[in-house]
Symmetry: C2
Subunit: 302 residues, 2 copies
């Protein structure tokens, strides 16, 4: 009997429904903010040129975070930069953290914002989305500057249940200057591509494998992006520590209460900075639970 | 006595003048195209799950390429994706190849096309441009979708002699759709940022540390990009195997014969595919020499 692989949009909908919360914890291991003695040990190792030791500490921390959040949220989003900063040993830690998260039933969005063309794009897609790749994740974030062909190679993995989140409209102060959200600007053109690619996906909740990154604080714009990309999951950074409120994120959802995955990193990870021993795992777990509840409360009910 | 560190624009000008050629060899190790028995051995290792062995073969190949091209060209451009595809062991190979290239006097442009904001962007900048980073290079390629603040953290390393090449206008077929090279489009806005950042750099040849990626086959447009960014080095992919001719690349240069760094990958690396033993190093060396001569011939004389 053939195994039917669900497509990414449906997998994410099911994961969100299982946890009753469209929440995603960003895993951004800043060395200086690790809990207790870890921060000092990791920084000292890196300054002493022992990046393997620094990466080992980061790995231990991130594996603890994964275990602490796994029962509260449906997804995690490791930020590649913080691992790559530690060199090859950091990348090895990232691979292990991604594998551990998936083993614990979390969907993993690899936040790498890659964007290239041709064989280079195919190499990145294989890295992050192929089951036999070096860092097999459920989805990757992508940067679309180079045009539609920079996104096309990832489509090959949709049949295996993988997805992507394409940068469309972010809420950092300078984004408006270059993304220019008018019909002629790159953000609208990219959103058209997202809509077209999701067109065929009518199964599950009618949400396809091509998601869009849409900033959380864009309350005025969110409804229009929602209307432009009705079948796209939005990955929404900026809730909590970065200033977005429940009212800000509400318009990112569809009327059925799906379609937005809200991320938080600092507000979940860093209150643990002051803890030592095993306390920090509990702190992270409590914060993840509270974050998941906040997102649940802010989600329009179907 | 204080050591005066030259800025990147001047360092590149001196390197080009030393080799009498504004040429840069792209190091894109496709497993299947490695010379002789290397291709089969690397692919078999990867398929068997031994990515360390595959990375070891890639490293040997790339170190051979570096040695083969070092006397002919001023710079190399390793493509991060092909190393990252092999996982942490591939990243370790990349770090060693970058270090070897710099030891042999080559300038290294890390082709990673990173683009993020805040602490994430700072982590990428530290990775690629800090002397104490995990992959210290002379310059990195960047993707500007997120706005000016996605580029700002790299400026901190200009004082240490590092530079960047920002994607502005590429020549892949779909680029026109989204980059929209009119005054309102993202490409023109990014080019304005490049021009402004290079404004203060009047030393050396009057070329600053902020370069721009401008496709080689854009012969009609090249002169206008040149006029918009008079102090920017252009990184120009697409010569040779990708179809650009000497006439295509001429307008990317300034009248003084500087300002464009022409890259080629396939045409230098792959003719060696059929060779075995040590022949392939000689093949790559000959091809690099011919490529450098082609660029020399296509460069407007001062």
């Amino acid at each position: 009997m053939a195994v039917v692989i669900k497509q990414f949009g449906e997998r994410l909908a099911l994961a969100v429904e299982a946890k009753l919360s469209a929440s995603c914890v960003g895993i951004d291991p800043h060395l200086g903010r690790l809990p207790g003695s870890m921060a000092q040990a990791a920084s000292a190792a890196l300054e002493g040129g022992d990046s393997e030791q620094a990466a080992s500490i980061v790995e231990e921390y991130c594996l603890g975070v994964v275990s602490a959040v796994a029962k509260h949220v449906p997804a995690v989003k490791p930020q590649a930069a913080f691992f790559e900063q530690l060199g090859w040993a950091g990348v090895r830690a990232l691979e292990r953290v991604v594998a551990a998260a998936r083993e614990q039933g979390l969907l993993v969005v690899l936040d790498a914002k890659r964007g290239d063309i041709g064989s280079t794009a195919r190499a990145y897609a294989a890295m992050g989305l192929s089951a036999s790749g070096s860092c097999p994740s459920d989805a990757m974030t992508l940067s679309p500057y180079l045009g539609p062909e920079s996104l096309a190679p990832y489509i090959d993995y949709f049949g295996q249940g993988a997805g992507v989140f394409v940068l469309v409209r972010t809420s950092n102060p300078g984004s408006l200057l270059w993304q220019a959200p008018n019909e002629e600007g790159i953000a609208c053109r990219v959103s058209d591509w997202v809509r077209e690619q999701n067109g065929p996906y009518t199964d599950g909740a009618g949400l396809g494998p091509v998601g869009a990154v849409i900033g959380a604080t864009l309350r005025e714009e969110a409804a229009s992006w929602r209307a432009r990309m009705p079948r796209a999951w939005f990955l929404v950074p900026g809730f909590g520590a970065q200033g977005a409120t429940a009212d800000d994120i509400a318009p990112h959802f569809r009327e059925d209460g799906l379609g937005a995955l809200i991320t938080a990193s600092r507000s979940v990870l860093y209150p643990a900075s002051g803890c030592d021993g095993l306390d920090w795992c509990e702190q992270v777990s409590h914060r993840a639970e509270a974050f998941a509840a906040d997102v649940r409360a802010a989600t329009p009910s179907a």
